[in-house]
Structures are given as structure tokens and as C-alpha cells.
Subunit: 195 residues, 2 copies
DNA sequence: GTCCTGTGTCATCATGTGTAGACATCACGC
DNA sequence: GCGTGATGTCTACACATGATGACACAGGAC
């Protein structure tokens, strides 16, 4: 039983962890395509060949990074003011996770695509759907998807370098504005669509 | 004066045009990174080496594609129901343009990045900003950016293969829902946030 | 000590990429 | 007919990428 020590010279668990952490960062910063295994290895301080050994390949590492990011699952939905602000600030600090990227860019690898889909639903769509259903709104799932997609658009747009104001505004400020525009406040009467 | 004839066997203008059109399509379908000059040439039925000759390189071709897409500039903003629906249907038919991709993913090439920014502002942000300013809302530019980013999120999310319902819903249906959730209806009283 | 398994390092391969240049072929003026 | 510039075609290069396997070495079992 030598696996307990942390500062071992040769420690596969540690190498694995370093790779995973670097992968989360890089996939978040540059997306899956533009991140290279060599760069991940360099940031982790670990030989990139170990990616293949420990994860099986770049795609599997991506999926693992997706799962690792999910670790801090929160039992709240986007329309919860606290959660919204927290999410905004987290993205400010650590950048968007690999998950958010998947929302707007289809993956070539269907396996990665599906992992992203499952994670996204569990973390963001489903809580929102529940809220909408609870509030008795029509088509809760579709509404939840729309809000999530819109929200992700704003989050990513903020860092894309394309929007001047969006990049500069503070996260608390933005949170208020977002809830103002995105969130259908409960007190608004349900729109009667003629159909 | 032989440039007038259209069906010439050798016609640089025609080759250029074919390349440009194929580039717009491919950049829209797969994004800048995943599109290769060889594939563009193949789709255009033109030798890819001509890309370098006529445009200077892949990046310059991308910028040209951006400009070409702008051709159908409309004098309307996203909150105009007709324009919204039209945009939705166009994306349905032809996919998101290369422009929309730039909203959520920064480009490696700063020149391309800036071209995307300028085009985006002229086509989408600025009209919305004008509307908001006309309506006397506070921070019209920031609001415009938020709405555009959110809208792009939905458009791209629709095709990312991550959202089930979003991918299936019809564009007219979606347009109604979008105006319902995204658009701050003028008649809605400004929400009084207790804080 | 001597093996032996886990772990790390390195070189290399197969493939795809953008780009450049050499060469061929056409249109057109003379 | 023939040269000349424009246009198109093809090959090759230099490079990056993901993957793989051979080898080196540590660290404990016996």
C-alpha cells in the first residue's frame, strides 16, 4: 500500500490528475479542436504520451474532463439569482468549461457529443425544465433549452472578443441585466399564443 | 474585352466566385478550423491552389466570405418579428453563417477576428442598439449585445445536436417563443427588483 | 541481490494542413 | 502562326497533430 503518499516521484494517480486538470483548462480556453495533446501535456508538466495510456486518447480525455467539471453540481437552476451570479463569476475566473463550448459547436466524435449532451441536461436543462413545469408554463423542456442556449451564448460571447460592452461589464451588473431580459419573471402573465 | 462572357472555359472571376461561395457554405457548416482549403476547392470544383492565388490564403478567404455574406444586409433589427423569422429560416436552410460562429469562438487570427466584429456590429448589434436607444432604455448598446449573443446561442444550439427539442421545433414556433422570452416586450413594466 | 510490474521518456509513424513553385494550357494581339 | 501573359493543374515541402510502441528506470517482493 504505497498509493497513499502524495508526493511520490512516480505516481500515476497524480499524473492523471494533473493531465485532467490541464485538460479542463485548455478545453475551456480553446475548445476541443484547437487544444492539442502536446499542449495539455506541457501545461500539466507530464508527457503527453501518458494521455493515451491513462485515458485512451484525446476524446476520452475530453469526456473525462467533462465529468470532472460536473463535480460541483448544484441543485439550482439558471433563474435562481444566486446561482446565476455564481455561475457568471466562476466563468469570469476560470473561463467557460468544456461543456459550454459543446453547446454551440457540434463535435465530430459522436461519443464526445453524447457525453456533452448528457452532462448539459443534468446540470442546466433539467433543473430549469423542472422549474418551468412547476410554474405550469407550456412546453417547459423547450423553454429550458432556449434559456440555456441563450445564456451560453452570452457567456461565450463575453469572452469571444467580439462584443465590447459585454466583455467589460461586471458579472453582478450582467446578472441583473440577464434576469431582466432573459428570465420571464413569474409575475408576467403567460402569453396567450393564438394556436 | 473578353471578361464579359460568362461561360468561358478559363475565367478567373468565375473561379473566384465559386471558391467564395463554397467557402461561405463550408465555413458555415463546419467552422473555420475544421474547413480545409482542399475541401473548399473540391466543393467549388476548383483547384485549391487558386485560393492562395486569388485571396492570399485561407484566412483572407474567410474574411472575404464574411463580407460576401453581408451582402444581404437588411435594415431591421432582431426584435422585428419578420426579420427574426426570416433569419431563423435562413439559418435553417443554409446553416449559420461564418459570422455567427465568430460570436462564440475567438479566432486565432486577429485580422479575421476584427473583420467578424465589424460585420457583426453593422448587421446585428447596431440596429438593435438604435431601437433600444429610441425606446429610451438604459445602456442600449450593452442590451443589444446581450440580445444578439443570446440569440446566436439559440441559433447555434439548435444545430449543435445537443438540444433535442430545440433542434426539432419549427422556425415559426421558435420565433414566437424567442420573442416571448428574449425580447423585453415594450409594454412590460420595468421589473422592480427588491434589492 | 534479482526479478518484475508500474511508470515515465523518447522516437517515430501516418495523416492532414496551408503554402509555394514548377509546369501546362488557353486566349488573344500581332 | 506565334509569342506572351493570364489562367489552371499538379507535385512537393514544411509543419503540426494524434497515436503507438520500444526502451529506461524506479521501487518493492522474494
Amino acid at each position: 500500500m504505497s498509493g497513499d503518499r502524495l508526493a511520490r516521484r512516480r505516481d500515476s494517480a497524480r499524473s492523471r490528475e494533473l493531465l485532467l486538470r490541464a485538460a479542463v483548462e485548455l478545453f475551456a480556453e480553446k475548445g476541443f479542436d484547437r487544444s492539442t495533446v502536446r499542449e495539455i501535456g506541457e501545461r500539466a508538466g507530464v508527457d503527453p504520451a501518458l494521455i493515451a495510456r491513462y485515458f485512451g486518447g484525446k476524446t476520452q480525455l475530453y469526456i473525462a474532463a467533462l465529468r470532472a467539471e460536473r463535480g460541483d453540481t448544484v441543485r439550482a437552476d439558471l433563474l435562481d439569482p444566486e446561482y446565476l451570479l455564481e455561475l457568471l463569476e466562476r466563468v469570469d475566473r476560470r473561463g467557460p468549461g468544456p461543456l459550454l463550448r459543446a453547446v454551440v459547436q457540434p463535435h465530430a466524435d459522436p461519443e464526445a457529443q453524447d457525453a456533452a449532451r448528457a452532462t448539459l441536461y443534468a446540470r442546466l436543462v433539467e433543473p430549469l425544465r423542472e422549474r418551468f413545469a412547476r410554474e405550469g408554463r407550456d412546453r417547459p423542456e423547450l423553454r429550458a433549452e432556449i434559456v440555456v442556449a441563450a445564456f451560453v451564448g452570452v457567456l461565450l460571447g463575453r469572452r469571444s472578443g467580439v462584443f465590447d460592452g459585454l466583455a467589460r461589464v461586471g458579472s453582478d451588473d450582467l446578472a441583473a441585466l440577464l434576469r431582466d431580459t432573459l428570465a420571464p419573471d413569474g409575475d408576467r402573465p403567460p402569453p396567450h399564443r393564438p394556436e
